[in-house]
């Protein structure tokens, strides 16, 4: 694939003055007050100087921004279906290339596929895998709110262990979701993807730097963005960023990047806060703080610890070599 010199340079975001001030998400869209994914989208779009093409999967961000005849998108945007944003984006990327070769297109734009956790971890996993393997130059962003929120808080394979959803309810027999969250980063990295990273809306400089870095790569890249949903997680709309922040500070959602196989923790958490600080803000975990569910809480804590040490080990090994 041909290098686009303008895109292959990248500058880390060090201050608010270095971001693109132009709004790319018009006001008046229909997302809930305190919507985490919309904060993520705004940060992603304002990381870049050039206007990217965004291909949205069906989901909260899509339906709330594009009710005919209105669109909140101030960048070229398309929605086709739920499970195929990576495949549609593949077609856009290949088409741009073909048109450029024919001299009918001056410059290729960055292509961003944007899907929720359902559209990424579950129904869109095959299309994502195919696009990663084929090596299209695109950034795939998964905004992860840890359940099917658009249809009313049903569990996905991104829903954490122990969380309440409408299809992983809490009862005498069930502790909330009984299965652990799928390791999507591991799956992406296993494709040999040149750049993959996690990010959180609470750490905007880290997130925006990662978007820039991803778009500068000449190949497929992946950004897993933690984007709390106050309706689904049962917290106050004012706490969206605080919840995201505590997810990082408790090591519940580690922020790291994997560049050509090399792991690096971008936001080290030397002294983690107790996991309860994260859980206690959210109704979906309220049952875990009751004495009868102590064992479930312990198990969740060990899952969080194990995940952190796995990533930490992967990052440390490379520092030593």
């Amino acid at each position: 694939m041909e290098e686009n010199s303008k895109l292959s340079q990248f500058q880390p975001v060090k201050s608010i003055f270095e971001i693109n001030r132009e709004e790319r998400m018009a006001p008046g869209h229909r997302a809930c007050a305190g919507c985490g994914p919309m904060i993520a989208v705004r940060q992603i779009l304002q990381s870049l100087d050039v206007k990217p093409v965004v291909i949205s999967a069906t989901g909260c961000v899509e339906v709330t921004t594009s009710t005919y005849p209105d669109s909140a998108w101030l960048v070229p945007w398309a929605h086709v279906a739920f499970e195929n944003s990576a495949a549609v984006a593949s077609g856009v990327e290949a088409a741009m290339h073909a048109l450029k070769v024919r001299g009918e297109l001056k410059e290729e734009r960055p292509v961003i596929a944007l899907a929720g956790d359902g559209g990424t971890f579950d129904i869109g996993l095959q299309a994502l895998s195919g696009a990663l393997e084929r090596g299209h130059r695109m950034l795939y962003v998964c905004y992860d709110n840890e359940a099917y929120m658009n249809t009313g808080i049903q569990r996905s394979s991104a829903t954490p262990f122990g969380a309440w959803t409408t299809t992983s309810p809490v009862g005498k027999e069930w502790p909330g979701k009984a299965e652990i969250k799928k390791d999507i980063m591991g799956i992406v990295v296993a494709h040999g993807t040149p750049y993959a990273a996690t990010a959180s809306i609470s750490h905007w400089k880290d997130l925006m730097t990662k978007v820039r870095k991803a778009v500068s790569q000449n190949g497929p890249t992946f950004l897993h963005v933690y984007a709390p949903c106050n309706r689904g997680w049962r917290f106050e709309p004012k706490d969206t960023v605080e919840v995201a922040k505590r997810a990082v500070e408790t090591r519940f959602f580690p922020l790291y990047e994997v560049e050509n196989g090399r792991y690096r923790i971008t936001v080290p958490v030397a002294k983690p806060r107790p996991l309860e600080d994260f859980l206690s803000l959210q109704g979906r975990f309220s049952h875990l703080l009751k004495p009868e569910n102590l064992e479930v809480l312990k198990e969740l804590k060990s899952i969080v610890e194990e995940r952190w040490s796995k990533i930490n080990a992967a990052a440390s090994v490379q520092v030593q070599t």
Partner: protein
């Protein structure tokens, strides 16, 4: 591996699949996204060969499924590119969801369907079950009788699709056409390139001013979009005829909305696809014996060539409508149902014999056609429907 150089000789021996691949190679296609499935595979293989040798100048995207094939074509078309794919059977079923997206977004995409039966039971051989499941997905549906017609209609499909903003499918019978070698008189690369030109400018993701595509539509607007789409499909017949007429000037070949053999015959067999040739040969033989039988072979199914079909009914007493797919529990097969609703709409009465035949590759020989023609000539009832078991 064989080397496939662009064929310069005018008359070539090609399978139906190869003819399709050459048409794509010559038609300045920007994007081919496809997934292999029998009996379409040769199309994908040849286009890959052409891409490897530099004869195909677009992008070849070897996707991981047919769903992604159509999705990538949709993405490509949204970016303003000329996109093509090919599939069959299970593959068409898998991309079913995306067929509606392509037509609803009013995107010019071309697709060859190497018609094949659907699982279960598993069967790789020809019938029309696959396309009939998608017949109402908003695509222009063309049917061909031989490899040369497949070649012609694929070239024409790009012009048609881009003029009416609708996707076009070219149906060719699996194995019977896809894998049979026939003489095909190809046009030169230059002539085809000149005929197809480049896609006309349309709203795209590449436009300087950002545009949004694929918005959600609520009950206040949805039906208007569908009304518009329906009118565009019906109205596309004018454009299809124009494009075919223009192509005829270059090639001397015009396949048209339908082919009528022995107009005015008392018995008319109504057919789709390659078996029409067998029926025509049989009808010719029977004429020698003094029997008045004819054949209507439809080249277009969507839009249905209503006027031309009605014109073909002059002097006809019995329509024997041949379906290679089943509409389970319905009054008749899909083609027969189409024809009957057309007859009713115009207050025309004809005897109708709705025949289901040729499923899963079951053959159709001259003796079969003869048996059916003779049966139709004698049948007394106004409507009949049955499964016919012909040659193996």
């Amino acid at each position: 591996m064989a080397q496939f150089e662009p064929v310069q000789t005018r008359k070539s021996l090609l399978t139906g699949d190869e003819a399709v691949a050459h048409a794509v190679r010559q038609s300045s296609v920007d994007l081919v996204a496809a997934y292999p499935i029998t009996p379409q595979t040769i199309i994908v293989e040849r286009i890959a060969d052409f891409a490897a040798s530099g004869a195909f100048t677009g992008q070849f995207v070897p996707v991981e499924s047919e769903h992604s094939a159509m999705s990538a074509c949709i993405g490509g078309a949204l970016a303003g590119a000329r996109a093509f794919t090919a599939t069959a059977s299970q593959g068409l079923a898998l991309m079913h969801e995306m067929l509606y997206a392509a037509s609803g977004l009013r995107l010019p995409i071309s697709m060859a369907i190497a018609n094949r039966a659907l699982n279960s039971p598993l069967n790789i051989h020809n019938d029309h079950t696959d396309v009939m499941g998608s017949i109402d997905s908003g695509w222009i549906q063309l049917f061909v009788e031989n490899a040369e017609e497949a070649y012609d209609r694929v070239i024409q499909s790009f012009r048609i699709a881009e003029a009416v903003n609708l996707p076009v499918a070219i149906n060719l019978d699996g194995f019977t056409l896809t894998h049979s070698t026939e003489p095909v008189e190809m046009l030169s690369d230059e002539v085809v390139r000149g005929f197809v030109g480049r896609p006309p400018k349309r709203d795209s993701l590449m436009d300087e001013a950002p545009k949004s595509f694929g918005l959600m539509s609520l009950p206040d607007s949805y039906q208007f979009f569908k009304d518009d789409q329906s009118r565009a499909t019906t109205g596309s017949s004018v454009t299809i005829s124009q494009v075919e007429g223009e192509y005829a000037k270059l090639s001397g070949r015009e396949h048209g909305p339908l082919k009528i053999f022995r107009p005015g015959s008392k018995v008319m067999m109504v057919m789709l696809g390659s078996y029409a040739g067998t029926a025509r040969t049989t009808a010719r033989r029977m004429k020698n014996d003094g029997e008045q039988v004819g054949v209507i072979s439809l080249g277009w199914l969507r839009p249905f060539p209503e006027k031309q079909f009605l014109d073909a009914l002059e002097g006809v007493e019995t329509l024997m409508i041949m379906d290679r797919s089943v509409s389970y529990g319905a009054p008749a097969g899909p083609l027969a149902s189409d024809v009957m609703s057309l007859l009713y709409r115009y207050g025309i009465k004809r005897k109708v014999i709705a025949v289901t035949y040729g499923l899963g590759g079951r053959g159709f020989l001259e003796e079969d056609a003869m048996r059916l023609f003779r049966y139709a000539g004698k049948s007394g009832s106004s409507f009949e429907s049955f499964f016919f078991y012909g040659g193996e």
